[in-house]
Symmetry: C2
């Protein structure tokens, strides 16, 4: 009898990393700073104080390489972390590939995705600063669930504006958010100026992520002990997610492997950054040489089809301007099932890393992604969320390229969540009702025209820094 | 800074137990045998051959203390096993109890419950015997999901009859079963004689577990290479689940604790048996002395309100007669949210252990259970399935008794699955729409009248053995 195949590389709680990694000081050039939307000058900590507690603002602009994870945050992380690293033996066999496929699985978190990795520290720092309520937006509901969970742990009130269409179509996510004790509003709502304006124009408005952000930001800015939380895009959010990659490094060291190819899906970018940045540190230091690839949906391809420019983070133009790959802040992607990837922009830090040539990206249509998701479920057992099926589709492509070439590549993919609340998408795919229309160039062109035109100095992003 | 609290006691794959435990040879008296429904004589292996492969039949009647888990089954178990044992620090704190509360969490399985522990070996032994299709019934869908997953791993066709009411109300579970490649029929269906008879009487029949069993059994018995699988009740099913308790024993040994009080919910009984039987072995051997308590729903209290007698396993009276605690095979419990606990009988082995005085039982209404489930979600993070909220309700009661008495009891509870597909139940609870009507004595009395009257010799269950 041969030795049994190892499926999971697990770490004990005592092996959990105790610091987050900030990639900024290790990059060959600093990322362009965010600009004030009125003055086009770099925003300072004071500009952000109405929305975020100072500890998070300082993390946002930090140049420290490592930041200690507070004990209180570690204590909650340990409810599910360290998360397992899996070797996908059964998928490899089904593909007939010589590649060795590994996936880091974040669906073991109580919210079912990687989102609690940042929701917990965000709730912690807010609680520490005396904040009594946090507002946020949510689309499909992963982020709202994670923040509701985190707030329940620290006794903070949590108020979530959920995109109307998702609120109507996916009631289970709302129910889960409420089970954790948070309040959910259908957006647009009558509770904010922004919401009332949209409802006045259309009483049956189904909402958008941009509108929901505007509502959550409006309430946070207008109440003294209320702050706002964002689930991706910002530097501190990406940094909190690096615990994923730090754990994966320890897990690979345990089995004496190093990844050749790291692939993750990108919406705002925090999942991909969380897994890949610690490996990018090793690449920059010359200790390993993985190829990094982001996968975006064909209907929202900010890296592969957007422009690199300063743009707003929200649809209404209320946020600071961030230099990023953007499809234009007015861009409304088709209603694909991977709701978590339907964001017009890309995290400034990911955009910067992309511009530096340290990673590449591909865009894939959703039918190919769901095909990979079903194959994964039937071999590895886990039903993936629609978002990471994008990473799985590229994993399958790379594994088949290895089959062709005979290369025994080590592939690492980010399985950032399970699909238990997305079964209707699988039903549509299996029932032959999933559409995969390519976006028209006209829609891209029209949306890109909404990117604000800045002076050349401001656009360079370096004149004030 | 004090040492961090350990939340999870994890085992490496190499530490996974490699044998199931059969409690039968360790019991002070043998359990009464199942009887043929026609002759009232003990059934032999040949009687069961149309429904089950011989390996499973031999396990059903085995007197071996340990049975090796085949390598092929271990290989699939390792996709999620060993499962974690958690210390519920945050729940303890919320309750202010000196008790130390541990929970063994089976929701980490791809199907979200303990059910794959037996679905995988059942599929394996069927595949080994050349069976090409397995039929089964499912209510809420946990068992159907697990068997579909297991069949996909061994390339066996899987056909599931789902209780009509659940099929209509919980489409996500059907979709998950289909994602694993199985076929789902709404029961009663036009595909079987039994189904057609019920539909002729009522074209809109919403079905019952008993009817779905009849349909699945009818198809299995009529096709040469098709067999049937049951998700609880039978000896071999309970034995497959003992891997839960064997792991927990290893995990307690790692931290130098022994449980004083073990509590689990009981529907058919496999979850409770799986966790508690290995500890009961230790109790019988005198190496530890845990108190075992089963929790059943107030609306389906077979142990606390049923009679101990030979009765049918299904509503239509097609199965062998089993000596068990039963409410009568015609008993239709109220439609509570814990669908997995709505079974008229109790596993013969659990019933026997109960009669031997080795465990006790309580019945709890669902509102108290959901209150405990919400408190658990908001402290420990995991949203429990409705079934294990029954165990949690009794865990909370015991922890509060310890608060009163000052006892530092070690409580171990079976958290047999997550509630991701049961959010509507939480919504009903949080929205104040959950009813908790006590069952009328008239209904109990009427149902008990359906228990067949056997001769005293047959009822004693020992005349032929």
């Amino acid at each position: 009898m041969s030795a049994p195949k190892q499926h999971k590389i697990v770490l004990d709680e005592s092996e959990m990393p105790t610091q987050w990694y900030n990639i900024v000081p290790d990059l060959p050039a600093p990322p362009p700073p965010p600009l004030h939307p009125g003055t086009h000058e770099p925003v300072g900590p004071a500009d952000l104080a109405p929305l975020f507690p100072m500890d998070l603002i300082l993390q946002e602009v930090s140049s420290e390489r490592y930041i200690d994870i507070p004990d209180e945050v570690q204590d909650i992380y340990r409810l599910w972390r360290p998360s397992p690293l899996f070797r996908a033996h059964r998928l490899e066999k089904a593909l007939g590939t010589p590649a060795r496929i590994y996936y880091k699985y974040e669906g073991v978190s109580p919210a079912g995705s990687h989102k609690p990795n940042t929701a917990v520290p965000q709730a912690y720092y807010n609680a520490k600063a005396g904040v009594t309520k946090i507002t946020t937006e949510t689309g499909a509901g992963q982020w709202g669930t994670a923040l509701a969970l985190a707030c329940s742990m620290f006794g903070i009130e949590c108020e979530v504006w959920q995109v109307g269409a998702s609120y109507d179509q996916k009631p289970y996510r709302r129910m889960m958010i409420e089970t954790f004790g948070a309040t959910v509003h259908r957006s647009p709502s009558e509770l904010t100026q922004a919401g009332r304006a949209y409802l006045a124009a259309d009483p049956n408005h189904t909402g958008s992520l941009g509108i929901a952000i505007s509502e959550a930001v409006e309430v946070a800015a207008s109440e003294p002990e209320t702050r706002y939380a964002l689930g991706s895009v910002l530097n501190h959010v990406l940094m909190h997610q690096t615990i994923i990659g730090e754990e994966a490094l320890l897990q690979f060291a345990k089995i004496g492997e190093t990844p050749d190819f790291i692939v993750g899906c990108t919406g705002g970018g925090s999942n991909f950054a969380g897994l890949s940045f610690p490996f990018l540190r090793e690449k920059l230091a010359g200790t390993m040489n993985p190829h990094l690839r982001a996968v975006e949906p064909a209907s929202c391809p900010s890296l592969t089809h957007g422009t690199y420019a300063y743009d707003f983070g929200d649809a209404a133009g209320m946020t600071p301007l961030m230099k990023m790959h953007t499809l234009g802040h007015d861009f409304v992607p088709d209603p694909i099932h991977a709701g978590g990837l339907r964001y017009h922009g890309m995290a400034p830090l990911i955009s910067h890393v992309y511009e530096l040539g340290l990673m590449d990206a591909v865009a894939i249509g959703q039918s190919e992604c769901f095909a990979a998701g079903v194959q994964f479920a039937r071999t590895e057992g886990i039903v993936p969320a629609p978002e990471p099926t994008h990473a799985l589709a590229e994993t399958v492509r790379e594994a088949l390229r290895c089959k062709e070439s005979g290369e025994e590549k080590v592939i690492l993919t980010a399985l950032c969540g399970h699909g238990h609340f997305d079964m209707a998408a699988y039903d549509a795919y299996l029932g032959g009702r999933m559409t995969d229309e390519p976006m028209s160039e006209e829609r891209f062109t029209a949306a890109l025209a909404t990117v604000p035109v800045l002076s050349p100095q401001a656009q360079s992003g370096v004149m004030f820094s």
